[in-house]
């Protein structure tokens, strides 16, 4: 009966008559893929997140400027509007700035200068960048990068002021910095999740397989960790990572701290799966056939809960991203010159800054969108994890 339901709802474009025999022989992963595709928000999220990650990996190419390049002449400059057509022909440009400085408060006010046009273009030459790893403690990893100075989109003449969403207090391009910050913010979640996945599988697996007092002990431990408010404890642990350390070390320190409190969800999923699978007939059959325990786990149990683990991994990434953002925002996590969305938001703490430069909140929007997308993606994966239902 369940098969009929899946066949009728499948939007793959196939006729239902062809679908029914396919369903019967389709592998578990194929069924999951079909089910996942039906979750429209999850599909959209997958596309958006893939785009985010591609942009983050090639940040140097996609960002119009480098994170460190600044222009004292254009501090706090407001966003510019791109005009795509110049006299009826395609030729993107922005207007320049006219600025006045208040002689008393030294506050700058910007107006649009319609007389100067700053030509923009695709694949323009600009600040040099490198794509790949840098700052890692191992040399050969650092060598894995390519350098360039072509940018996807930017001012045609290097050095012209082009601030798509505005400039910060030092005259740095906020848009470029948001793109570069994505590298740290998006990867913290992934690295942290893999650390906590290791802990979760280990402790959850022991808990579910061994049982008895060890299970009891681990379960009480998990309960305890879950009942502690995580942010205050994270704050306390983050102070143990001195700011003067190497940025890469600080980065890993913070991810370890984040995952130390976040493995509990994973452990619960793993344990729950082990417990329910232990009761299944096909496991009993394998046991009666004399299959060794290790083979039962890897061949019979693992494939059937891998999908659940992928789903819960996806759902726990947002917590990590939010944790890093919160810590960096408080000044306890990563420190400048490293850019992450949290580090950028730290500059937007005072009401004076937000009132004058609301575009400083843009990294916050990036955090929200990313977290939202991960939630949708996780929901879709969780629904798809059990394709037989």
């Amino acid at each position: 009966m369940a098969n009929d339901v899946i066949a009728v709802n499948d939007p793959g474009g196939h006729a239902a008559s062809q679908e029914v025999p396919q369903i019967a022989v389709a592998s578990q992963w194929k069924l999951m893929r079909w089910k996942f595709r039906r979750h429209r928000m999850a599909m959209i999220s997958l596309v958006v997140l893939t785009t985010f990650y591609i942009v983050a990996i090639f940040a140097g190419f996609f960002a119009p400027q480098a994170t460190t390049s600044y222009n004292r002449k254009y501090t706090q400059a407001p966003p510019q509007t791109i005009h795509w057509f110049d006299n009826g022909k395609f030729g993107p440009y922005v207007y320049g700035y006219k600025q006045e400085t208040d002689p008393r408060t030294l506050e700058r006010t910007y107006t649009v200068d319609k007389d100067t046009k700053i030509p923009l273009g695709f694949f323009v030459k600009g600040d040099s960048y490198s794509i790949g790893f840098s700052g890692m403690p191992v040399d050969w990893i650092n060598n894995l990068h390519i350098s360039g100075s072509r940018h996807f989109f930017g001012a045609k003449n290097h050095g012209d002021p082009f601030y798509l969403v505005g400039a910060d207090d030092l005259g740095r391009d906020v848009w470029s910095r948001v793109i570069f910050a994505a590298q740290v913010s998006l990867s913290v979640g992934l690295v942290g999740v893999f650390l906590s996945l290791g802990l979760g599988i280990l402790l959850g697996g022991i808990s579910g397989l061994v049982g008895g007092w060890i299970d009891n002990l681990i379960q009480r431990g998990i309960e305890l960790l879950r009942s502690i408010p995580d942010l205050p404890l994270w704050m306390a642990m983050a102070t143990a990572v001195p700011a003067r350390w190497d940025p890469v070390v600080v980065y890993f320190g913070i991810t370890v701290i984040l995952s130390l409190l976040r493995w509990t969800d994973m452990a619960r999923v793993v344990r729950g799966r082990f417990l329910s699978l232990r009761e299944e007939d096909f496991i009993l059959a394998a046991e009666l056939d004399g299959v060794p325990a290790r083979r039962i786990i890897t061949k019979h149990m693992m494939p059937s809960f891998l999908s659940h683990i992928i789903a819960s991994v996806t759902l726990s990434i947002p917590g990590m991203i939010l944790g890093e953002t919160a810590l960096s925002f408080l000044g306890l996590g990563l420190q400048p010159p490293v850019v992450s969305w949290g580090v950028m938001l730290k500059d937007a703490q005072s009401i004076r800054v937000i009132a004058n430069m609301p575009w400083m909140l843009l990294p916050g929007a990036a955090v929200s969108i990313t977290v939202l997308m991960f939630n949708f993606l996780g929901d879709g994966l969780r629904d798809a994890a059990d394709p037989y239902r």
């Binding site: 408010p229 306890l332 977290v371």
Partner: protein, 329 residues
């Protein structure tokens, strides 16, 4: 019920012990201590001469030279026996005064946010389940998802921006300047209530979204069950039927979420209060962590964790009262 209660309360003690140990170890993690931080700061300012002997004397005075186990023993026994949370290096006074002052405010703000989340999530959750896929359900779902994805401090920043540009006022603080340091009175309390709603909404928003989804899902499971149909067939008024059977049923998992909503609320409170500069634990905790004023930080961490433990205890008792199956397990 009584047996369950006793068991559940006794269970708290080992939990508290482990938490206190965990907190103390965490506080000891940063390299150096308050004295070394202070000396370093003093070295940067010229004209002061700090001899190593003086540094040692300071350490001796604060008991920082003893082994960690002895330090933990002294610290925990003083709290249990005398309610003494140790000395605040930074303020040169016992830390319990500042801790209790701030904890009271935290309790107040957290409680208000908690009431807010339930008061909002419960009716909206019921509405969304009963009118599934209606316009309202979609709107609440969208708001809920965005609320869940936006960190509290960002909502606080956005609210500050809106308040500043629209009404020209800043949202910070819990009191008007007039009542800031005044002793407690009815007027001061009224003033507090006037300011409390802003942090209450900001802190509550994140949790509300999650709770709405839980309530909606639980109720949807119940609504299709035959007993609802039976009651309807007997001609029971729709809203009475709803509140009397399926909602009560769906309430159990809802109550059990208290165990994790409370820690989330307290976490949210910590960071939002830093942004809004509320006189609660958040700002002082951050400050004390930064200067390694360890007894103040430890005291806050400990009490915040206890607060959630007590919260889970209350939710378990409530659950046992709601659902007899748990009592007799």
């Amino acid at each position: 019920m009584f047996k369950y209660l006793v068991k559940r309360v006794l269970y708290m003690f080992p939990m508290m012990f482990i938490i206190s140990l965990l907190v103390f170890i965490t506080i000891q993690l940063p390299p150096g201590d308050y004295v070394s931080a202070m000396i370093e700061q003093m070295r940067n300012q010229q004209g002061t001469n700090w001899s190593p002997q003086f540094e040692e004397a300071m350490r001796d005075r604060y008991g920082l030279n003893e082994s960690i186990i002895v330090q933990y023993g002294k610290w925990s026994s003083n709290i249990v026996l005398h309610g003494d949370f140790g000395y605040s290096f930074q303020n040169s006074e016992p830390s319990q005064k500042i801790i209790w002052d701030r904890m009271g405010m935290t309790l107040m703000v957290t409680l208000a946010s908690f009431i807010f989340t339930w008061a909002v999530a419960l009716p909206i959750g019921i509405y969304s389940a009963v009118r599934q896929y209606s316009m309202g359900d979609y709107i609440f779902s969208i708001i809920g998802f965005i609320g869940m994805a936006t960190p509290g401090f960002l909502i606080a920043l956005i609210m500050m921006y809106i308040a500043f540009t629209q009404w020209g006022s800043s949202l910070s603080g819990l009191f008007s300047p007039k009542y800031e340091n005044a002793p407690w009175s009815l007027d001061r309390f009224a003033d507090l209530l006037k300011h409390l709603w802003i942090p209450m909404i900001i802190i509550g928003t994140g949790g509300t979204a999650g709770l709405i989804r839980i309530m909606r899902a639980n109720l949807l499971d119940e609504l299709n069950k035959p007993y609802v149909e039976t009651a309807r067939a007997k001609g029971m008024p729709e809203w009475r039927l709803l509140l009397k059977y399926p909602v009560r049923h769906a309430l159990n998992p809802f109550v059990s979420t208290l165990g994790w909503t409370l820690p989330a609320l307290i976490s949210g409170e910590a960071i939002v209060s830093i942004v809004l500069n509320l006189p609660t634990t958040g700002p002082i905790l951050l400050q004390s962590l930064k200067v390694q004023d360890m007894y103040v930080a430890a005291g806050f961490l400990l009490l915040l964790s206890f607060l959630t433990l007590i919260g889970t205890l209350l939710s378990d008792i409530m659950l046992a009262w709601l659902d007899p199956r748990i009592r007799f397990e």
